[in-house]
Amino acid sequence: MKIKSGYVIRQVMGNYVVIATGEESRGFHGMVKLNETAANIWSYISEGKSEEDIVSLMIAEYDVEEQQLRSDVQKTIKTLIQQGFVEL
């Protein structure tokens, strides 16, 4: 799993946004906002972490139940893939 080349995350005025650069910017002109959790997941993916790694890392970081967290991580990754930002 990796971030598709050309997509970058920027922290602007307390928000995280994803934009396209390079060739990707010819087809994608939007600006997608991510919440802090999604931005965290994004940075773990960019470090080459697997879904399993991300869940374990985030359990240590957030005070939430594992099942809930796993489902949130899965949902976020699925959305990132559907948006075309992440590829398997």
Binding site: T21, E23, M31
Partner: protein
């Protein structure tokens, strides 16, 4: 880009983050490589500010080189011809730049010096200097 999107994003979010295309602000902004952050401006722009403005059906991000009572003279750092832009066509001001991954300190001395120099030494001046040096080179060869 669906053009109305930029205005909608600025109105809804209070900020517009994007990359830029073209070479008109080169070397500061490289084609589809660097990231810009534009925010709506509540005050009038100042000389050396970089403005996002509407030009017909498109949007342009160039530098203010002269402030007039109800408009601006605006030119790309790498352009020869300026635009005369009414206040109503100004959408925002460049408040952030990432050159690739590196954020530029727009309040820092380096950037401020660059803004002033690039306006002072416009492309036309740069072209003249280059021609002069080529001419001198030819003269020396003779």
């Amino acid at each position: 880009m669906i053009l109305s999107d930029i205005e909608k994003i600025i109105a809804d979010e209070g900020v517009f983050v994007s990359t830029t295309s073209g070479v008109s602000m080169y070397p500061l902004l490289r084609d589809r490589k660097d990231t810009i952050v534009v925010t709506p401006s509540t005050e009038r722009l100042k000389k050396y500010d970089v403005a996002l403005f509407r030009r017909g059906d498109s949007y342009v991000l160039h530098r203010v080189i002269e402030v007039l009572p109800d408009s601006y003279v605006i030119r790309g750092d790498n352009c020869i011809m300026p635009d005369h832009v009414k206040d109503a066509d100004i959408l925002g001001r460049l408040t952030g730049i990432y050159r690739s991954e590196k954020e530029i300190d727009m309040l820092g001395r380096g950037y401020r010096l660059y803004s002033r120099l690039i306006v002072f030494i416009s492309p036309l001046v740069r072209l003249k200097l280059r021609l002069k040096s080529v001419f001198n080179h030819i003269k020396h060869k003779k």
